[in-house]
């Protein structure tokens, strides 16, 4: 099996791109990734491409990528794995390269959430992601989906809504410096706690905004890396974890089992543990999801995630900076692009080019969780060749 490195990464800004469609966002992200390759890359070098897209704005995704980017002569596949889509297309790209079939792969994540009304977007998606007879008619919206976990977690753990709010505050603080972020303003704990309720215990400021955007990473087989850069970012490990699709079948809702499974696989492949991770991009679609994930990823002991928050260990400059990009909360969350954008941030951090640079960062972890809290993807990237 060949080792795989990322040699280029780019993304559009995240936000409400009312003036641009998916056919523009995708080539924008690919173009920026190609431009980031130190020694240059001709798009004709790309041997295969994956599109990670959760919705299907303007139709057939694989064809739209090929057509809009001038990549009509290579195989292109669209993948949907809920909000774990981003890490999953990177995993598939790695499979393709490591197996020896392809040398250069473009992993492109994109979604155009705001082509539908803000009030109906997530409900429209629910029709495609819930059991039609049992869950769908109950109105199990995406926030409710995670809120059921958060309620039980707050019931069993010492954490409070204040700790959740402190995560939103931290992610906005980080996002202010990110020129690609959607919400570049600082907020306070009091604002979070006083915001209108969405799905208890989540208020509006516990929730990610709705975003459009695209992101791309260019992955290359080890023997071709030197053609493109002298400072690649190496894939150290990855994992994809799946859990039961209905909440009533999840025995312990204080944890995300899919994340635990994905982390176990990724750490084992990398030969690393949580203490070896210098920083992470953690899926914070809702504040409590980031909080609980600290435990699932091994950054905190069980039911002790709030201590990490209280110590401000999750800030840039802290013990384990989380979401230096601003996270989904500040940067935005176009689901297919989210995971890829996390890896864009890690790529830039490990090359010392981030807007919010972490000193001495050598290993970073990207984490997604999605669907009915049933799919998690994790990618561990490093500065040194494994």
């Amino acid at each position: 099996m060949r080792r795989v490195a990322i040699v280029g990464a780019g993304m559009t800004s995240f936000g409400e791109h009312f003036s641009r469609g998916i056919k523009e966002l995708i080539p924008m992200a690919l173009g920026e990734a190609l431009a980031s390759v130190d020694k240059g890359m001709d798009r004709r070098d790309i041997g295969a491409a994956w599109l990670g897209e959760v919705g299907t704005t303007d139709g057939f995704g694989a064809g739209i990528l090929a057509d809009s980017c001038g990549l009509l002569d290579i195989p292109v596949t669209r993948t949907e794995n809920a909000c774990a889509t981003g890490q999953d297309i990177i995993r598939q790209a790695i499979y393709a390269i490591a197996s020896g079939y392809v040398d250069v792969v473009a992993a492109v994540g994109a979604d155009k959430v705001r082509d539908t009304s803000s009030s109906s977007t997530f409900w429209d998606w629910m029709a495609q992601t819930r059991d039609m007879a049992w869950d769908f008619p109950l109105g199990l919206l995406a926030p409710a989906n995670f809120a059921l976990h958060a309620s039980r977690y707050l019931h069993e753990a010492p954490a409070t809504r204040e700790h959740m709010a402190m995560i939103a505050v931290k992610n906005h603080f980080h996002g202010v410096k990110n020129p690609k972020a959607q919400l570049r303003n600082e907020i306070t704990v009091e604002q979070v706690l006083k915001a209108p309720l969405v799905a208890e215990p989540f208020g509006m400021f516990d929730c990610t905004p709705q975003s459009d955007g695209a992101a791309t990473v260019l992955l290359v087989a080890e023997e071709h890396v030197a053609r493109y850069t002298d400072r690649p970012v190496w894939v150290l490990g990855f994992g994809l974890g799946i859990d039961r699709v209905m909440h009533q079948h999840k025995r312990d809702m204080t944890s995300f089992t899919c994340t635990v499974k994905a982390a176990k696989a990724a750490y084992a492949m990398a030969g690393l543990g949580p203490r070896d991770i210098d920083f992470a991009e953690v899926h914070d679609c809702f504040t409590a999801v980031e909080l609980i994930s600290y435990e699932d990823l091994g950054f905190a002991e069980r039911f002790c995630a709030h201590k990490l928050v209280e110590a401000r260990d999750h800030y840039v400059g802290g013990r384990i900076p989380i979401n230096p990009s601003g996270g989904l909360k500040s940067k935005g969350h176009p689901p297919g692009a989210t995971g890829v954008a996390q890896c864009v941030e890690i790529f830039e951090q490990l090359r010392g080019q981030s807007h919010n640079q972490i000193d001495g960062a050598r290993v970073g972890l990207a984490h997604n969780i999605g669907g009915p809290t049933a799919a998690s993807g994790i990618t561990i990237l490093g500065k040194s060749r494994p």
Binding site: D131, P137, G139, L148
Partner: protein, 397 residues
């Protein structure tokens, strides 16, 4: 043995009249009342379902009624449009082990059911089929009203009572306004919570509770039936909680919630009958039923097994944002059925949204979970026990 009467009043409204919960209709109310008399496993030979608000006018009411009551789907069910006199007629002509269910699904709302015992305690006493349609409701859904209470009192109630040639003043007059009932009944007539079909059974229940036997009249506009009732040997079971102010919920615009009728049909027996799939090899229960048993790995070896209809909240959330075609706010809970490890996601009902706490105990009751492209989608919801721990109003959990 006379009859067993079950009465149900929605927990919403005021003491002057109850209103339906947003997730109730005539069918769910029928089940609430009838469960009080059939849950103990009593034999039922025939069902008569009387209401002027049958949810489906092209068929489809009887199967959910039988499934939710866990009665055989081979029973004869008479779906009858009628008011108080129709119910009295159905009761007095009913054979032993007939279940008569009567529902008023417009305010003042209520439902009642009676299971006839070995000896029918009602005997015919008089009838007058007269027409004075001051209120009408037509097939196109329009209703008209010509309120003239004096005309109704004189040419309606008084004339029909005379036409029926009753021997004396009835002890109670179901279906009449409180004023008319007081004017034409014997002293001490009970006040009834409803005015339509169910009022006849509320009247009989009141007589049983006060051990009074005698003449009972039921009237709907000018149509009247009367019977003699022997209260001894009958029993009453009531599910009538203190009324609370109906919650203001906002229904958001948007198309109906899509429905796959095939998926509806596959889930029906399990969802409406509240039955798990149980593996015939290892006994593991799962809701919804699974093709592949997670206990022993058997494929397609399952049968339906009734689940307990009580449980405890494992976790909960309340959705405050508008959701197209649903009514916000609403509360969801994952509930673990008593004595099993089977859990299910369901709505919380009968209390204002956001009031149920983790650990609360309650009943699982049939509710109309959603209206989906014209089809009432029935399933079970969690109704916390009156003593269950509730969180403070308006507070986030």
């Amino acid at each position: 043995m006379g009859m067993t009467i079950g009465t149900y009043l929605p927990p919403w409204g005021t003491s002057d009249g109850r209103v339906l919960g947003y997730d109730e209709d005539a069918l769910t109310m029928a089940v609430e009342a009838a469960r009080l008399v059939v849950d103990a496993g009593a034999a039922v030979s025939r069902v008569v379902f009387v209401s002027r608000e049958l949810p489906l006018l092209e068929g489809g009411n009887t199967a959910p009624l039988l499934a939710a009551l866990r009665l055989p789907d081979t029973l004869e069910v008479v779906e009858q449009i009628g008011g108080a006199p129709a119910v009295l007629d159905a009761l007095m002509s009913a054979a032993p082990s007939t279940l008569v269910v009567a529902v008023d699904a417009v305010a003042p709302a209520g439902a009642a059911a009676a299971l006839i015992g070995a000896r029918n305690p009602l005997t015919f006493a008089g009838r007058a089929q007269r027409s004075l349609p001051q209120r009408t409701r037509l097939a196109d859904g329009h209703s008209y009203r010509d309120d003239d209470p004096r005309l109704m009192r004189e040419s309606g109630v008084r004339t029909s009572l005379a036409a029926a040639q009753l021997a004396e003043k009835p002890l109670v007059m179901a279906g009449a306004s409180a004023r008319d009932a007081a004017a034409w009944s014997a002293a001490g007539a009970p006040t009834l919570p409803t005015l339509g079909a169910s009022s006849t059974l509320f009247a009989l229940a009141a007589l049983v509770d006060s051990s009074r036997s005698g003449l009972v009249a039921a009237i709907e506009q000018a149509a009247l039936s009367a019977a003699t009732f022997a209260a001894a040997g009958s029993t009453v079971r009531r599910h009538e909680r203190t009324p609370q102010k109906a919650v203001v919920r906002k229904r958001s615009p948007g198309g109906d919630i899509k429905l796959s009728l095939a998926a509806y049909d596959r889930a029906f027996k399990s969802k409406v009958g509240w039955q798990a799939g149980q593996c015939t090899s290892c006994g593991l229960m799962s809701i919804p039923p699974r093709f592949h048993c997670l206990g022993c790995g058997a494929d397609d070896q399952w049968t339906l097994a009734a689940l307990p209809r009580t449980g405890t909240v494992y976790t909960t959330t309340t959705i405050h944002v508008p959701v197209p075609s649903l009514e916000s706010p609403y509360t969801l809970a994952v509930v673990e059925c008593d004595g099993t490890d089977v859990r299910s996601l369901m709505h919380v009902t009968d209390v204002p949204p956001g009031r149920v706490a983790i650990g609360a105990h309650g009943r699982l009751v049939l509710r109309r979970v959603a209206m989906r492209t014209g089809v009432p989608d029935y399933g079970h919801a969690f109704s916390p026990d009156p003593a269950a721990s509730l969180t403070a109003a308006g507070g986030a959990t």
